[in-house]
Amino acid sequence: METFESFLTIGLGHYLTVSVILFCLGVLGLLTRRNLIVVYMSLELMLNAANLALVAFSYFNKSLDGQVVVMLVVTIAAAEVAVGLALIVSLARKKLPVWVNDLNKLKY
Amino acid sequence: MLLTTILLIPLLGALLVLTIPANFRVLHRGVAIFATGLSAILSLFLLFGFQTGVEGYQFVHKVAWVPSIGLNYHVGVDGINLGLVIMAAWVSFAAALVSYEIKKQDKLYYSLLLLMCGGVIGTFASLDIIFFYAMHELALIPTFIMIGVWGRGEKRVYAAFQMAIYLSIGAMIVLAGLICLYAGAGAKTFDMQELAAICAAEPMSLPLQKWAIPTLLLGFGILVGLVPFHTWAPLTYSSAPSAPAMIHAGVLKKFGLYGIIRLILPLMPQELHPWMEILVVMALVNAIYCGFIAIRQKCFAMMCSYSSLSHVGFIFLGIAVLNNLALTGAVFLMVAHGFLAALLFALNGWLHQQTGGTAMANMGGLMQKMPFIGFIMSATLLAGCGLPFFGNFVGEFLILFGAWQSAWHWPAALGVFTGLIISAVYMLRAIRQVLHGQSPAELSGVVDANAWRKLPYALLIAGLLAIGTWPMLLTGKMKEAVSQTLEPVNSLTVQDQINTPSE
């Protein structure tokens, strides 16, 4: 009974579980989706999964360190999106495909 | 300061050449000749200002650079590198003089050549192992570019890459060994003098020596062309333009030999003997095997390259028998061979310009066509087979006497055989094929050098003759430095003899 109650009380484990699920979704999306934009979104999903974990740790450990890191991640993510989306847009403008499979110029 | 001046002049010259616009071709050449000539003349002041009979380094110039790791700019000469520095300066001058054969991109060429000249002088003047190493690289990299851009023949790019890869690997191995030394001494110093003092006070740990000696030997061996790591040399020298071939074969190649003398012998005497015994065998293999290969060569440049490898074997022998006489001879031969190799490749350049190739079978009777060059070539080739009154003879017999004195009887005997017979066979064959006999009709356009172009040959042969007729000029100054270098090993040997009961 007690275990069930503690299961119902939302604790660190719940947050982490959600975070892991989100992260796995992100990874799967990254590996399987073909559209660059969706790949990008999956990437963001992974970052945010990490953010969620960081915030949860921060809350349960009574320390602000985690939140500081989250701020950093958000900033980097924003910068990254700015560059990445710009690349995608310029690809689209040149009427080049935005499908991952077709971007294989780095092959031997 | 004098040494610093000598080695900075060419480097500054290189910068100056870069600032001169590309169409002032005479100026590029002028700056190169002036800079190398000036440092060559200044180098004579080293010779005459050197105090004989004084231990330690002279003309020292030391500036702290990165004190936290013990890195200094530190140059100086003692008996061992005095001759090498002077030889380097004069060979550089001669190399600048023979560079009239270059017809394109003079600006780049002369700046690279001057870098190379500064580098080789710096290599032998440095007393700090990082500078020693870096100066060698500074001279090496221009060689790569020069062979690739101004080289001869179809295979020049391949040759340039082969050389660069071989020598970079050799240099990397040397660097690893040098780091071993630095770490092993544990005194945060890159200074050769201080390292020697530390190792004399407290020997380096034996396991470290066991690893550092073969590492350094391997690295230096690759750089010098010890069999079987020698195949880069013939191809490189036959593809390179005259000047880099002269500087590389004459001067830069001595880096490895000099490194063994400076860094292995005095610093790690305890584990030296087994490796030196191996080196004696390797040296003889070099001398005899490469000598026999030289006999078969059809191309003059290839023959010169293999003969140079054979002579290097002699120098190795002189180092490996660990004897004062032989080491004196080895250092002497390094200087003499510097002049000799430079002459050979300068002559090769002349032949190549005049006949359009270096295959000896296509030549003949050139003594009639070009008496001066023919005379110099005969003298050089005869000097190469150990004719008295040329420097090589003195170096070789000192090495042989030293080898015998150290009870290396059979190497001495084989050395006599190599020095007197094998070298004579290929050198005389070259004279016979190139200079004697009838000249074929295709070579009717061959001409002798004019007054200005005679100068480099005359200078180099004068150098060979000067040290050959008056060897005390160098040997007299070497005594202290040589005995200091071998002192650690010799004192050990004496102890061994005390410890082991005599028969």
């Binding site: 031997y108 | 006999i295 007197l420 004697h436």
Partner: protein
Amino acid sequence: MTNILLAILFLPILSAAAITLFTLRRPTVSAGISIGSCCLTFILSVLLYRGAVSQGLPLEISFTWLSVGALSVELGFLVDRLSLLMLLVVTGIGSLIHIYSRGYMQGDPSNSRYFAGLSIFMFSMTGIILANNLLMIFVFWEMVGLSSYLLIGFWMTKPSAADAGKKAFLCNRIGDTGFLLGIIILWGTLGTLGFSQINSLLAANPAALGSWTTLVGLLLFCGVVGKSAQFPLHVWLPDAMEGPTPVSALIHAATMVAAGVYLLARAFAIFSLPAAWPESLAWFNFSALEAVAFTGALTALLAALIAVQQNDIKRILAYSTLSQLGYMVMAVGIAYPVAGMYHLTTHAFFKALLFLGAGSVIVALHHEQNIWKMGGLLKRMPITFFTFLVGTLALCGVPPLSGFFSKDAIIAQAFSKSTCLGTISVGVAFLTTFYMGRLFFVAFMGKARSQSAEKSQETPPVMTYPLILLAIAAVFAGFWNVDTWMMRHYGLEPESAGWFAKLLYPFEHAPMAALLSLAAVACGAVLAYKLYYNAKQDVLPSQLGSVARWLKDKFYLDELYENTLIWCQDKFALVCDKFDRWIIGGALVGTVYHGVELIGRLWRLSQTGSVQTYAAIFVFGFVVLAYWVVNW
């Protein structure tokens, strides 16, 4: 004294330098410089002789040339009876030949080079003579090799001349290998190379060289074998006749080839030590001197036999030189260097005379050297004829000419040591007379056998005066007390005698040897007269068959060396070359090179270009890593 010595040594090299640097285009001036310097050294040598005799012998002066640790090489002069004799012979004959060269080389475009070469030779030769230590001898030994090389190959556009020079140099180098090794061992055991020190050390302790004794002797003898062209390294000397004739006279007859005998006499203390071999070679058990004696005898016999069937006038003389050198070497080998040096001196005179005479004939006949195209020279070239006759008689050993005395000294000593050697030496005397008679009857007597012989004229005085002077020397040298001079050098007390007693001395002292050698001469002369006087062609080949062919083809020794030593060397070089090219350069370097390339080729297959594949690999790697970290 020191100044005179330095001048004698350095004048020739200075003149060579002057010619090379300044007067290459002025042959007359070059000839003047060279002849002047040589005559001046002769005059200085005479002054030295007078000064040294009055000051007392021996005289030693030395400067340090190179001193490193225990090794000290000196530029040292040792003036004693031996070196004075040799110096006078060399500079005297050298001067005459220099003067003669002026006529012989008239009009050759490379005159200056020729005289520069001669001057280098004079420098090197005086160096050998005056040296007071072995290493200095070795240095100049190499230098005479060089000058010989330069002068044999003087007409370098001629392939045979260029090859001959090369062959001479290499044969000498083979000998010098032993020589240098001997010097090194000697220094390693005795610690000194000076002759005076060696002599006193060995006198104090004959076993000072220990087990090296005989080996050192034999190794030093190798140098002699090379330089003095003894069997088996004699093959270079006949080929050396490709050089100009005065060169053959000076270098390859009178002086340089005799340097080996000089070395034997000089270092006699080392050679004369009793046999002592290292343990492992003990079964050899012969002494160095025995080897020397038998090498000399064998060379004398072999060369005399070959000379019988040669047709080139210079080659006959060359083999004759070989044979006489064999005598000299044998003389030292039978422990009587006095006779060796005596024969060296007289031989220098009459052999130089013969070569110069031959040169005179060659010039008169426009470079014809085949004796079967000469003949009838008595009327046309009387001076050459008579001087050559004198030389021939002296060489054959007809009393009272000089050759008789020196040769008899050797033969007498040979009989007293071993009958075998004595017989050989008498046999060689017979052969000598026979081939010289053949040469003389065919080339000088009878009728002219070719057009050029018919039109020949006597050569100019610059060539005939040296002939006359040398002929005088060849006649009277037997009375110049060379033998007593040399005996005093070796500490023997000669019997003083007037010239008539001198003439009779051989018959009183060892009558059998003297009579035997006279009989041999007579037989040889008669046989040669019978076979060759007025002969149209050589009758020996038809009578002797294959023997004559073997003699004519020099016992096929050149071919033997060609097919053994040179073949081996060439094949070994070939193997090395191929090994280097295909095994080291091809297989080893190729394996590394292609191996690296292959790995690269394989590895780049993983570069698919698909970002998601990379990401998948990355994720996979991360999972593995994470699993490993967590479970560790």
